[in-house]
Every structure is written in C-alpha cells, then in structure tokens.
Amino acid sequence: MNIKAMTAVAVVLLAPTFAYADADDDTMVLNEDISMVTKTAAPAHLSDALDEVMSGWHFRSDETQAMQLDDFDNPGMIFVEKGMETWAKVDGSEGKSCQSCHDDIDSMAGVKATYPKWNEAAGEVRTLQMQMNDCRENQMGAKAWGYDKGAAINMEAALSSVSRGMPVNVATDGPAQSTWEMGKELYYARTGQLELSCANCHEDSYGLMIRADHLSQGQINGFPTYRLKNAKLNGVHSRFKGCVRDTRAETYKPGSKEFVALEMYVASRGNGLSVEGPSVRN
C-alpha cells in the first residue's frame, strides 16, 4: 500500500471519533414521567469559565444513556432498594432506624440536592455520608459506615433517588465559603507528574476524546453512578481518587477534608442540573 492509500484508511478509521465528539442533544425523560434538566446556563460563579453546564449523561453512548431512562433497566436501582430496606431497619444501641426519626424516605426529597452543606451545630461542611454517619453514631448508637463503602453508597443512592429531577442547589456563601474556596483551589491545582488539573480535562477539554474516553464536564449530579466497568455503585470521592491517581499524583482519601471541599465545589458547578443519581456510566 502506498502512503496516500494509508492516509485514506486512517481518515476512515478515525472518522467515528469525530462523529460523536461533542455532547449530544438528546433529552432525558425519566420513567416517561419526569423531565430532567441535563443542560442549563452555568451558575453565576462559573460564568467566566463556562456558558453551559451539562450532565455526564450527554457524553455517553445511546445504549448507556437508555439504561438510565427507566428504573427497571437501571442496575443502580437494585442498590437503591437495598438502601431503602436499611432505611426502615433498626440498628444500634438505641433501637432506632432512620425511619424512627424521619418518617418515610420520601420525606427526604430535596435533601440530596443541597449537599454538601454547612452544619451550624457542628461548625463544619458535611457531605451526605458524613450526615448519615452522624445520625448513626449519635442518634442510633450504631457504627459509622466506611466512606464510599457499600452500605453508605446504597443509602446515598436511595436518598438521591427520591430527589431525582430536583435542581442541584448547593450554597457557596456564608460560613461554607472557605471550604468552597479550598475546593476551587484543588480543582484548578495541576497535580502529579503529568501536571493535570480537573479543569484541564473537564473544563478545557470536555467533548474531546482522551484516548478511548470521551471527556465530560465531570459533574456529580448523577452520583452515585452505576459503572458498567465495575458493575457497582461508585461514590464521588472514589471517582475523584481515580482521576487524581491518573495524573500520577498521590491521591487524597475518601472522606478527607480535601475531598469534602472538592465535592462541595464540584457539586456547586452543577447548580441547576437535575439530581440524577443513581446514574449509569461506562
């Protein structure tokens, strides 16, 4: 084969890459009922960097997207059911379940959308998992769940599922602001031997292919996410850890103050998008 012919082959081989490079224009209607906001104007704090924020759903294949549209097809819902069973189950020395204090899990609609958030009594920013563990230890007399481990993720998914369709609305001001600023600094810090920041991949390069991966904006409105790759629900901090590791850096630990701050900042970048968790990703 001569060089020209080889080039022609190359163009044909590479063509599909370009065809699906951008975010698609599909619309998401959950269970043929709830219209989801998967693209919206960027929140004011982000307007210098982005015009529009988009769910990671837009960057996945049609097949993966379809799995998230119906609860019967969404493998993440099995874990939601487990979380819902735990909601009503008594645990710990006080003889209480979550439901003893909170009523039905449906009463939690809207809660996920506002986390991480400032807790006045504790004087700290808390993720949903930190709040769950506070209830377990101090209300139920039960043991804290491991960060991003099965029981915690199942409950986070259950709490997220009852907020689906509601807009993410994480407060960035007031006493939470310094944590938010710390998260922002981490987002733009170029770490590891590859010297890459979250922004390099998810702000400057979303829509492009990095090897076989189609880069999204790295939004977390869809967490916990069921990943086809490992066939389980994945937590936000575990995802962060993987991304930081891929810069050839020393990562932070799930539950660390750095990742709590980063979660708060990244969540706020998705303000206005619908809560989607549990979403389906590859």
Binding site: M6, T7, V9, A10, V11, L13, L14, T17, F18, A21, A189, R190, T191, G192, Q193, L194, E195, L196, N200, D204, S205, L208, M209, I210, R211, A212, K241, V244, R245, D246, T247, R248, A249, E250, T251
Partner: protein, 163 residues
C-alpha cells in the same frame, strides 16, 4: 557554584559518562538547555534516535502514550487516538528537530501553560505519585521517558512530513 563552573562540571560529568558507557545519557533532566523559544539544540544522548522504536513509544499506552492526546496518521492501526492536542501529521514541516526536542523535554517552555506533560522533568511537581498507584512517590522520580526514548520519538516525528 556559578554558572560557568556548573557548565564545566556538567560537561566533565558528561564526558565521563560517555567514556564509561557509550549509551549513557549525556544530558540529565536538570541540565537540559532550552533557548528562549523552548527549543533544545543538543541531543540528549549525543546521538540520533531510532524512528521505528520512536513510533512504538508514541503509540504505546504503557510508554509515551502520545496518541492519548494526538492523532497520528502514520500509526493508523492503533485504535482510539485522542484529540486533545493537534494531529501530529506534518509535525516535521512545522518544527525543527531542536524544537521537537524542546516540546518533548518540557512542552511548557514552548507552549505556556499547555496541558501536554513534560517528558524529561523530574521535580517541581505537586504531590508527585509513585506511578499510577495513587501513593506518594517513594524517592527521586524518573522522567516519563528516558533521554534515549525521547531521541527515538524525535526521530519518528522527523519522518512526519506532508510530502
């Protein structure tokens, strides 16, 4: 040590390295001399690289992984080429060998703030890890590519000409 002394020491070290083992790298990462445009005139090994080896390095996920970000028509058999940086077809028409060496050794000297990693740099990193383990680096880092590997990739890139 003043600059002149440093240079003298470096060149003495280089001569010793060269005489004790012909293939030893002459220029250590800390001693690479970039000109004001980010180009590096001197070969890192004192000799020309091997283009066929360079093609392997550029396409391999485990070594250079240049195709993670660049499309390279000459490597069309390698699937999933990225599109973060410009396609490298015709790179040798756009850049001299010295410029390519500079882009590989530390692209930030040529393109300020670029996303492209520096392949011949061993310090000045934030939270450097031990490879892709997520753990802290155990000691001094190796550059992402050796001087010899970089010369091989330069030899390969030098073949990328649009007629």
């Amino acid at each position: 040590m003043n600059t002149l002394n440093k240079l003298a020491a470096a060149s003495v070290a280089g001569v010793i390295a060269l005489s004790s083992a012909g293939w030893a790298e002459m220029v250590a990462p800390a001693d690479v001399a970039f000109d004001e445009d980010g180009a590096v005139a001197m070969s890192l090994t004192g000799k020309a690289g091997d283009a066929a080896m360079g093609a392997k390095i550029a396409g391999s996920k485990k070594i250079g992984n240049c195709v993670a970000c660049h499309q390279i028509g000459a490597l069309a058999d390698i699937p999933f080429q990225g599109e973060i940086g410009p396609a490298l077809d015709g790179a040798a028409d756009r850049w001299s060998e010295a410029e390519l060496r500079g882009i590989l050794a530390n692209s930030k000297m040529t393109f300020e703030g670029t996303m492209m990693p520096a392949y011949y740099k061993v310090d000045g990193f934030l939270r450097p890890g031990n490879g892709y383990t997520g753990k802290a680096a155990g000691g001094p880092l190796d550059p992402l590519l050796s001087g010899e590997q970089i010369e091989d990739v330069i030899a390969f890139l030098s073949t990328l000409k649009d007629e």
